[in-house]
């Protein structure tokens, strides 16, 4: 088992003919992901190394049975592409694009919330279920199958923590990047719910950062709904207020959204918080026992 992407994934890539789109689509296919289609308006009928390209997501779904979309188009076109994927009936839309205007994200989020499609991202590295499927830009070579579910607002920090865990012998059920934007399509809570229900996952590691209140909301949810152990890491203790730290959503506004407040909120609900990535893996050993 894993969550969201697995051997049943049939992936269509929006923006497949762009440089990054092609590179990562082929990397995902090399990993074993079933990449069934690509979409670039005006390039229908072409192919990318054997992957058929369509003009619309509707054509791609109709002709290939795609059930997952990966959006790789530039920021100004990304909201449109997500809405097109939803309109074509795709249940899972993973958006890698960074730099989408916040108001576009608000409209997309509000529309999708009223339907049944799930959005993961934007501004995220995608989802990897080791041994099954990789959708996005996560470097899969560092991860193997296992019982730790990992959910994170940051890409490279996920690799760092995943790698620390791997060095201590842990593998992952799934690794989900929910992205660093102010309006993520999916929250920590959405992923906690899926990991809680996933029989393979025995420990959930959540990796948060400054800005917003998603970690605090997750803390309340964990207390009420999560029976599995949850371990957290929060980045940005030294971030000054009012400055955007790389991710559009990583900003301490006045006294709100600090790393200290998030760590406190989680610890108050019994979630252990590692103070650095290495400590996260040490606590994982305490919780699950030694694996090496």
């Amino acid at each position: 088992m894993a969550i969201l992407v697995d051997t049943g994934t049939r992936l269509v890539v929006s923006g497949i003919t762009g440089r990054e789109g092609t590179f990562h689509s082929l990397r995902n296919r090399d990993y074993g992901t079933n990449v069934v289609a690509g979409v670039t308006p005006g390039k229908g009928g072409q192919d990318v190394d054997g992957i058929p390209v369509f003009n619309t997501l509707h054509d791609a779904v109709e002709q290939t049975g795609a059930n997952t979309a990966m959006v790789f188009v530039p920021p100004r076109f990304a909201a449109d592409s997500i809405l097109e994927a939803e309109d074509a009936g795709i249940p899972l839309i993973i958006t890698i694009t960074e730099g989408i205007p916040a108001h576009d994200e608000l409209r997309v989020y509000t529309h999708l919330e009223r339907g049944t499609s799930r959005l993961v991202g934007p501004n995220c590295p995608g989802i990897l279920s080791p041994g099954k499927a990789n959708v996005g830009i996560i470097p899969a070579q560092f991860f193997k199958e296992g019982n730790v579910g990992l959910v994170s607002r940051s890409g490279t920090l996920t690799y760092q923590i995943g790698n620390e865990l791997a060095q201590r012998g842990f593998g992952n059920s799934s690794i989900v990047g929910i992205g660093g934007d102010p309006v993520p399509g999916s929250s920590f809570i959405d992923m906690l719910e899926l990991f809680e229900a996933d029989p393979e996952t025995e420990l959930i590691v959540m990796c948060g950062e400054i800005g917003g209140s998603a970690e605090e909301e997750a803390a309340d949810y964990i207390e009420e709904h999560v029976s599995k152990p949850v371990l957290a890491y929060i980045a940005g203790f030294t971030a000054p207020p009012g400055k955007t730290m790389g991710h559009a959503g990583a900003i301490v506004s006045g006294s709100k959204g600090t790393a200290a407040a998030k760590a406190e909120a989680l610890e108050a609900k019994g979630v252990r918080v590692g103070r650095n990535p290495t400590q996260v893996s040490e606590i994982a050993v305490e919780i699950l026992g030694t694996r090496v």
Binding site: T110, R153, L157, E209, T238, A250, P277
Partner: protein, 379 residues
């Protein structure tokens, strides 16, 4: 991107929010000319992106030419909580009867815009929220429908503002919402929202933040960026397409990915050091980007040592190593470096560094080891 008051008011005027007549000025002469044109009394206001201008003496009433000249001279160049005043706004003085507060904000946790109104304006909003939380009324707005008339009416009646201005205040909220959506703002705030002696409703101040990610849709707003108010290193980094935030310590930091860089700052602080900056060289960093980033970091004279913390995913460690070697050829840094390379092509990267044998460059295998080493070297 935070706009200055007068820039915000220009956007207000464009979308029908009533504002007093005014002119920006960058010299005393311009300020006096503006005052003469507007007619006295005028208010001379420091244009800086920080609150508390009035208390700091940055807002003064001028009843004649001599006073306008005197105040403009005093305020230009004034330091207000670390911000130097480079621009003034000369505005026709208003007769104040009542002061309210209105705002449209981006409520991240609800994932909705939120309209706010209070009859207690002209003061610190956070203070009002603490002392009299009932005084601030708030309503969420469906972003697919936009602000409706009933939102304005409800806020107006519930906040207890004077009945004769319920309609015009509602109309102002609607116009502020237009600014919020059409200008891709993440914050539109009016404090105070003024009711004049003749019962007119005007925005006496304007605080507008525009989403950086949407500036491509607003070339006019993008041009308003005020380079003189920007930190020199931050400007240099922005012009080079690097994500950089200046901090006040002495350990220069470069990493790939925002989360990992934030984490690196924290780990350096835990080891007893003080980070000089946040610099995300980005995913897939190429050698030129690394060289360019090293130049930005070293242009801060406080930097006594530089830490590279790279976990290569898409970024290849050998590219990072090449960038560093290139940087040493071009700029010959005189401070020590600690380099931690892990992930994609890490062995190749480390081999390149070993071969280049750069002066005063230390390699470390782990993030924690690298943090300890850099703190020791920066002492």
């Amino acid at each position: 991107m935070d706009l200055l008051e007068y820039q915000g008011k220009q956007l207000f005027a464009k979308h029908g929010v009533p504002v007093p007549d005014g002119r920006p000025a960058t010299t005393v002469q311009e300020a006096v000319e503006a005052a003469e044109e507007l007619g006295y009394p005028v208010v001379i206001k420091a244009q800086v992106q920080i609150g508390g201008r009035g208390k700091a003496g940055g807002i003064q009433l001028a009843k004649d030419r001599a006073e306008a000249e005197e105040h403009a001279t005093a305020i230009l160049g004034m330091d207000i909580r670390g911000f130097t005043v480079h621009e003034l706004y000369v505005e026709k003085a208003s007769e104040i009867d009542e002061e309210y507060y209105a705002a449209i904000v981006f409520d991240r946790s609800a994932k909705k815009p939120m309209a706010m109104l209070s009859r207690m304006g002209g003061m610190d909003v956070e203070e009002v929220a603490e002392t009299d939380p009932e005084a601030m009324r708030m309503l969420h707005v469906d972003p697919l429908l936009g602000l409706q008339d009933f939102h304005g009416r409800r806020l107006a009646f519930e906040s207890g503002i004077a009945e004769d201005v319920v309609r015009p205040v509602g109309a102002m909220l609607a116009s502020l919402y237009d600014v919020f959506v059409r200008e891709d703002a993440t914050l539109v705030e009016v404090n105070p929202l003024l009711i004049t002696k003749s019962r007119e409703v005007v925005a006496l101040d304007a605080k507008v933040t525009v989403d950086d990610n949407a500036l491509f849709r607003h070339p006019d707003v993008a041009e308003l960026r005020d380079p003189s108010a920007e930190d020199p290193q931050e400007r240099m980094a922005r012009e080079r397409g690097l994500t950089y935030v200046k901090l006040d310590g002495n350990v220069g930091i470069l990493g790939n990915g925002a989360g990992l860089v934030m984490s690196t700052l924290d780990v350096v602080a835990q080891a007893g050091g003080t980070p000089a900056n946040f610099l995300d060289a980005g995913g897939g960093s190429k050698a030129e980007a690394i060289t360019s980033a090293v130049e930005v970091i070293l242009s801060d004279e406080k930097v006594k040592a530089v830490l590279f913390n790279i976990f290569g995913g898409i970024t290849r460690c050998d590219e990072v190593a090449r960038g560093l070697i290139e940087a040493f050829e071009q700029i010959k840094p005189d401070v020590p470096f600690v380099v931690r390379l892990d992930g994609t092509n890490d062995k190749e990267g480390r081999a390149l560094l070993a071969e280049a044998d750069l002066p005063n460059v230390h390699t470390e295998a782990t993030m924690l080891g690298a943090a300890e080493k850099i703190v020791e070297l920066a002492r």
